[in-house]
Structures are given as C-alpha cells and as structure tokens.
C-alpha cells in the first residue's frame, strides 16, 4: 500500500447567510494516496467545488472551515497561516479550472504567465522557467511551443488554452493536482484528446489527482477510486470497480442509471426525481431519503454513519457494502 498523501477527516465548511448557517460540507472523510487518482462525483451544488476550495483554503467570506482536519503530507492545512498556505498552493497543491477561456489572464502573453507562475513556484529564473514551459507544452502535445508562448489567450482555441493551463500547472511540479471539471467546457472531441493528454502526463509524472466532475464516464476512464458526494456528504467511496460493478448507495445506483446507454434504446433519459436539498435546512436523517427509492421509516430520523474514505463503504442504513459485495 502506498503512502497516504492527503487525509481529510470530518471536514466541515459552513457559510453564514441571511437564511442561517449553510453547511456546505457536513463532515467529509477522504484519503488520496500518493500517485492515486480520485474522482469526486456529484450533482451541481453537492459540495464538490467547496471541497476543492477548502483543501486549498480558498473559501471566501462568509464561508469558513468550521471543523475537521486536512492532513497533507503529515501537515494539517487547516491550521496554517495564510502565508504558509500561500507556499503550499502551487508548489504542493494546485488546481486546474473548468473554463479555460477564463483561467488565463487576457492582458498577458502565455510566455509572460507561464514564466511568472513556474518561476514563482519553482524559485527559478525566467530563462529556466521558460525552458520548463516549453518542455511541458511539448508534453501536452502543443505543436509549436514557441509560437504558443508568444500568443495571447484570445488567440488560442479552448482546447489549446486548457492544454496551456495543464502544462502551466504541471510545470510547478506539484504533488497534488485538483482538477475542477477541466474538460467540461470543451467540445466532446477535444475533451477526449485533452483527457488523454492529461492522463498521459499524470501517469508519467506519477501525480496524485483529485478529479472533480459530474461526468461518470470521464471518471471511469481516468480514476482509481471514486467518492460520490451528495449534499455535502460522501455517500459512497470505493474503487472504480466497486462503484461501477457493485454500487451500494441508492444515490450511486440512481446516478449510474442516468448514464444514457446506446445499446439499450431508451424512450427517454432517466433522471433522479427531485433536487439537491436546500442546505440551509437539510432534511433530518439521511439527506437523500426524500428522493430515495428504498427509503424506510428509520431513514427519516436516523443519520447514517459517514464513510471513512479508505475502503468501499456506503453511508446508508438500508444497504451495506458487505452484503452487496458478497452477492
């Protein structure tokens, strides 16, 4: 078993709003091993991005981390000062954003931005930083790095911009990359290409990745383990095979059933009835019970125990991974 790189335990992030305290994360446990790729899957508003921003300590006021620990390489990030955290960001943990058209500064050339960022995070001079920039641009399959470096973001297509972002981010030589749906804003064909390139580079550099998405297909292709998040809680955690072959939590099952299947012609797209609950006033008991097809009376009052985040487990009163795995 490889070393644990990130160990999040009982992470709670709350936002003070006019309608009361919103618990965006209600006690999350999650581990990421070194060189492991973990997918964090959930609907919009389930807390995926808040998890990412909590790890980086970039929660804007009125939000705050209300409890729990984020141990990274043996260090708890929650207690770090903002200056210490600044050093962790980029160097140790870095993030790739969803919309490539907005993640590069429009007023600077790519050279300017890559050299600034890489130089800053590696503590090296401009010339060496540029060499690294070229190296990583080649790594992400950019045909003419020199020309790309001289151009401005608006001169590049979405796919190229996202590859630049990836090259820049990986050029920092981080330990953990948080990828916030980096392929969602791209065309399907470009999506596939960018995903392949990213997978390639990550494997070559042996990086740990937290891949945030609502796209189960991408996760299946890319990740080792999956954490399914619902209403600020991880409802099921396991390997890709656990989740796809033996889904236990009714939410995971429902989620998998929403993937359109070309072979089995369906009359209409499947959906999960209802919406993500209002987190200012979450339902009692299991947060999924109002939408759950298997809900029993006890689900309305008893809150299931949260998952540990290191082996296949589901936060469900009715279903149990043990019996499910045996079937």
């Amino acid at each position: 078993m490889s070393e644990k790189l990130v160990e999040i335990s009982d992470l709670k992030t709350t936002f003070e709003t006019n309608s009361g305290t919103v618990e965006a994360l209600r006690g999350i446990n999650l581990t990421i091993d070194e060189g492991e790729r973990v997918g964090l899957v959930g609907e919009s508003g389930s807390g995926k991005s808040v998890t990412a921003r909590s790890i980086l300590q970039l929660i804007d006021s009125p939000g705050e981390i209300a409890g729990g620990t984020i141990s990274f390489d043996g260090r708890d990030l929650v207690g770090l000062s903002s200056r210490e955290m600044q050093r962790v960001r980029g160097r140790d943990i870095t993030m790739i954003f969803q919309d490539p058209s907005m993640s590069l500064d429009p007023v600077y050339s790519i050279r300017n931005q890559m050299v600034e960022a890489i130089g800053h995070n590696r503590n090296i001079g401009d010339q060496r930083a540029e060499e690294i920039a070229v190296e990583y641009l080649e790594l992400v399959d950019m045909p003419n790095p020199e020309r790309v470096l001289s151009s401005y973001p608006h001169e590049l297509s979405g796919g190229m911009k996202q590859r630049v972002s990836i090259a820049m981010t990986l050029g920092f030589n981080p330990d953990l990359v948080i990828a916030d749906e980096p392929t969602t804003a791209l065309d399907v064909t470009v999506q596939k290409k960018v995903l392949e390139i990213f997978k390639d580079v990550v494997e070559r550099e042996d990086l740990s990745v937290l891949w945030i998405t609502h796209n189960l297909g991408v996760v299946a292709e890319f990740c080792d383990r999956i954490a399914v998040i619902y209403a600020g809680e991880i409802v099921e955690y396991g390997t890709v095979y656990d989740i796809f072959d033996r889904p236990t939590h009714p939410y995971t099952r429902e989620l998998l059933r929403t993937i359109p299947n070309v072979q089995r012609a369906q009359e209409e797209l499947r959906v999960i009835e209802g919406t993500v609950p209002n987190m200012a006033d979450p339902p009692d008991g299991c947060t999924f019970h109002p939408r759950c097809p298997d809900a029993e009376a006890r689900c309305e009052t008893t809150r299931p125990e949260s998952v540990d985040g290191d082996h296949h487990e589901a936060a469900c009163l009715v279903h149990d991974t043990q019996t499910n795995d045996r079937e």
């Binding site: 980086l56 970039l58 006021s61 600044q86 050093r87 962790v88 960001r89 980029g90 160097r91 870095t94 993030m95 954003f97 969803q98 919309d99 058209s101 907005m102 993640s103 590069l104 500064d105 429009p106 007023v107 600077y108 600034e116 960022a117 800053h120 995070n121 045909p143 003419n144 020309r147 001289s150 151009s151 401005y152 608006h154 001169e155 590049l156 297509s157 979405g158 190229m160 972002s165 981010t169 920092f172």
Partner: protein, 311 residues
C-alpha cells in the same frame, strides 16, 4: 472581451494551409495592436479633433518661450489695456502685459495642473479602489466611506477649505483637485475588481500561490484600468476647469503667474472696455477642456465596443 476576437485554431489552419500559418502569430505584435487601436480611434472624427487640438496645446506649452513674442511678465507702461493689434495680437492687460504671450504661457500651468493632479488622483484612486474591491469587508467599508465622503464635497468647497488651511499656491491646487477626483477612479476600479475577482484567472492566480500584492498589481489592476484611462482623459478637462475656478476666486495659483483663471478674473471688471483681457484666456480654457472631452469620448467609444451605436 472574448467574444469580439477571433480564435485561431492553428492545427486546423495548419492542415489547410501548411506553413503559411506561421505568420499568424506575428499579427498580434504589440505595435500592430497599437496601430489597430489608432486606426479605430481615427474613425471617430471628434476624437481626432480633440487629439490634434491637444497636441497643438502641448506643442505650444513646450515651445512657449519660442512662440511668445514677449515675456509673460514684461510690462509696457505705454500700452495699458491696448486693443488687439499687430504688435499685441490679443491686446494687453491693465499692466501693459501682452495677453497673447500670457495665454501661451498659461497653457503650461493648465497642463501641469491637469496632468499632475489627475496623475495623483489616478494612482491613489486605482490602488485604494483595488484594495477595497479585493479585500472586501472592513477594508472595503473604509474605502467606500472615504469615496462617499470626498464625493460629498464639491471641488470648489474642498479647494476653499484647503486654501484656508494651507497657503494658496500650485501645490494646494494640485492636492485639492487630486482629493476631489481620486474617488472617481477608486469607485471605478473597485467595481471592476469586484467583478474580476470572481473570474477563474484570479482564482487560478490564488490557487498557484501568488501573493496578494502580485495578484493586485499584476492581474487585477491591469485588467481593471482601461475604463479608468477613459475617465482620466475626460476628467483632465474638469481638473482644468476647477483649477481655473480656484484661480478665479483667488485661491489657486497666485499672480503674477500667467494662469488663465487669474487672467479671466482680473479682466472681468474691464469686460465692457477691454474685452480681450478675459475673452482670450476664456477661449483657451474652453478649447482645452473641449479637446479633452472629445478625445475622452473617442477613447470610450473605441475601447468599449458596446457603446458603438451611440456614436
């Protein structure tokens, strides 16, 4: 900003045209961008008028000693309040000084005040506005209150107050004008920064560990500053008007400095008998303020494509 520019997919282009694409990257050189911008600006006829007039004023100010037939303080006791003639094209004032030469030298004071006071206001306002917008909360509350406070005072009142505390001279005028106008820039930049900080590239800058100082100075201000450039041009005209008003009230630059405002006020009592004493400096003020406004409007229309229809 994104939607108005064309994206180049080099790979697709390369397949189609082979090596020719190599030239595309160079089409975006900085010089070329400036050229495109100037071409764009020149289609706005009023802004060309403004730019040409301003350029003329700057040339006049720089070459004042060469262009003026007399020294601005040279007194000719034999020609007091003489009407315009070949020797004195704009006539002379009550001390027999050449109005033409004094108007020419007055351009120096006017431009000096406009550029310096707006420079201070622009720098200070931009930084303060960016800090308020980026940090929010308490910092922003202080910034907002400060902006609102300065906005509550008309420029003249502020100048009056300052002149009564400090000595009425050029520095006091500069400080007064900067104090009145910094809020304009602070408010503008603060608003821009508020919307910019929600964008991914600022979040990305945070996520890669850049310091606040770098994020503000390298990424927020350069992106927020363009509309402030337009406003600075428009406000320079206002700065000159305020400076002239203060001089007119005797609170600005002091005689014998050839300031247009002073000339205007001293010529006022002779307006029926020696109209040239106040009309020519008055015209100079009008021309300079108008040129700043024309140029500013041209810049605004060129920089903000959304306003195109309103030309």
């Amino acid at each position: 900003m994104e939607s108005t520019t064309t994206e180049i997919d080099w790979e697709a282009l390369e397949e189609e045209w082979g090596e020719e694409v190599d030239e595309i990257g160079s089409a975006g050189s900085r010089l070329q961008r400036v050229k495109y911008f100037l071409v764009d600006l020149s289609t706005h006829s009023l802004s060309v008028v403004g730019a040409v007039l301003l350029l003329a004023v700057v040339v006049v100010a720089v070459l004042a000693p060469l262009l003026a037939p007399y020294s601005p303080s040279e007194i000719d006791p034999g020609a007091v309040r003489a009407p315009p003639s070949a020797a004195h094209p704009f006539g002379t004032d009550s001390l027999g000084r050449d109005v033409f030469s004094r108007v020419i030298f007055g351009s120096r004071i006017a431009l000096q005040i406009a550029v310096t006071s707006m420079g201070i206001a622009f720098l200070f306002g931009t930084v303060v506005g960016a800090l308020g917008g980026y940090y929010g909360e308490n910092v922003d509350a202080v910034v907002r209150t400060a902006i609102d406070t300065t906005w509550a005072f008309p420029a003249i009142i502020m100048g009056l107050a300052l002149a009564s505390i400090l000595e009425p001279n050029l520095t006091t005028v500069l400080i007064a004008i900067a104090l009145v106008f910094w809020g304009v820039f602070a408010r503008l930049v603060r608003g821009e920064v508020l919307s910019l900080r929600e964008l991914d590239f600022i979040k990305a800058a945070e996520a890669i560990g850049l310091s606040d100082r770098k994020i503000i100075s390298r990424h927020l201000i350069p992106n927020a500053i363009v509309p402030a450039f337009v406003v600075v041009t428009l406000q320079m005209g206002n700065a000159i008007a305020v400076a002239a008003s203060l001089s007119y009230l005797g609170l600005g630059v002091q005689p014998p400095t050839p300031s247009w405002g002073i000339m205007l006020s001293s010529g006022q009592q002779y307006i029926t008998s020696a109209w040239w004493m106040s009309v020519f400096p008055g015209l100079a003020i009008v021309v300079v303020i108008m040129s700043f406004n024309f140029l500013g409007e041209g810049l605004r229309d060129t920089i903000d494509p959304k306003l195109e229809d309103k030309r």
